[in-house]
Amino acid sequence: MTAFLALIDRDLRMAYRFGADTLASLLFFILCGSLFPLALGPSPDLLRHMGPGIVWVCALLASLLPLDRLFGSELEDGSLDLLMLTGLPAYTVAFAKMIAHWLTTGLPLLIAAVPLGIMLGVKSGELPLLLLGLMLGTMCLSLLGGMAASVVLGARRGGVLLPLLVLPLATPVLIFGAASSYAGQLGASPAAGFDLLGACLLAMLPLCPLAAGQGLKAAVG
């Protein structure tokens, strides 16, 4: 457990030190979201209807950005060998990296979603629903993304392959997540969306680290 926490701590320190990665995905999220009003026109009604969907798609794309470096930089400079030799099982190493990815990408996105949502006219009453859904959703995306990043690790066109792998797998998360966020607008209960989103998270929680661990083993072997 100490080693596991030490690993997360190390990644957080690195993210703090190299803040550019976190900042890049954050700025991408905000910019991407602000482009929609320019293209769709400034109609507040239209934007309010599209708001949650825009936030969800932008969050999905923004969380993809730092994935390429998640394990790539560790493999290049030999750190991954050392991580694999810490005595922790490979899936624990992968899980620690996924948690660090959520803390350095998912959590900042969640915070940035507040101003973006308000900008797009999401009502303050609907905002907590959107954030709760996004919290579960970004966790799912960190797990999926970490898995995909470790699977393509060492492949020559890994960076191109990565979105092609993550995006199809992320569609259920997007569908259920957006459904829960629209519940407020439609006057329906958000419970179904949250239930399915939570089910996705619970399924990914054990499976993604296992698959990612295998990917890491193959990459260093």
Binding site: T2, A3, A6, L7, R10, R13, M14, R17, F18, D77, G78, S79, D81, L82, M84, L85, T86, G87, V220, G221
Partner: protein, 209 residues
């Protein structure tokens, strides 16, 4: 090398490698390598470039699974790869923090021994290649593990640093540790055992029958 069965009075070997065979792609890199390492041993792995020295170390460490044969290890190990694994933006101490947390060594003692104390708060990108190599070696000392696997520890080191490294290795052996070292320069070590890996580069390619 013929594996020598130890007399029953001796403790079991720290490391026992039997008939390890490794393929890379369809190329045979290691062909039935056997060696065993006891407490206090230092084994120098030699062989031409591409003979599989690093591959053997990776197999022993467990990073790679052997395609044939067994590796039995009794103790924890410390690893020095051919890359230094230092993050350029972090200071030396921050780079070594994880190793210090997981290992039993003391940071300031290790830095003192390796003459790195005055660099402790410098970002790793400002270090010279020899200083980086010593920093990477500091991880091995911090781990406190009895078995050291060192892949080219002397790359980029000056004569004085190599001497210091030799003294550190001798002390580790005196305390009951053991090590396997790949190197192309002679190390200031006494009573080493050596194991030469033949180059299999020109060997007949293997076809699945």
């Amino acid at each position: 090398m013929t594996p020598q069965p130890p007399p029953s009075a001796l403790p079991p070997p720290l490391l026992d490698v039997r008939d390890v065979t490794v393929f890379r792609g369809d190329r045979l890199v290691l062909d039935g390598v056997s060696l065993s390492l006891f407490s206090g041993d230092a084994m120098i792995l030699t062989g031409p470039n591409g003979a599989g020295k690093s591959t053997l170390l990776r197999t022993i460490s467990g990073l790679r699974k052997p395609d044939g044969g067994t590796v039995e290890r009794q103790t924890e190990l410390a690893w020095l790869g051919h890359q230094d694994a230092l993050k350029p933006g972090l200071t030396l101490t921050q780079n070594l923090a994880l190793a210090a947390k997981l290992g039993t060594g003391h940071m300031h003692e290790v830095l003192e021994t390796l003459d790195l104390t005055f660099l402790a708060d410098l970002p790793a990108r400002l270090l010279s290649s020899g200083q980086k190599r010593r920093a990477a070696f500091a991880r091995v000392m911090l781990s406190g593990a009895p078995l050291w696997l060192l892949d080219e520890p002397t790359v980029g080191l000056d004569v004085a640093s190599i001497e210091r490294l030799g003294a550190i290795m001798a002390e580790h052996r005196a305390k009951g540790g053991a090590m396997i070292v790949t190197t192309h320069v002679p190390l200031p070590l006494e009573n080493t055992r050596s194991h030469e890996l033949p180059s299999l580069a020109n060997a007949e390619p293997l076809w699945l029958s």
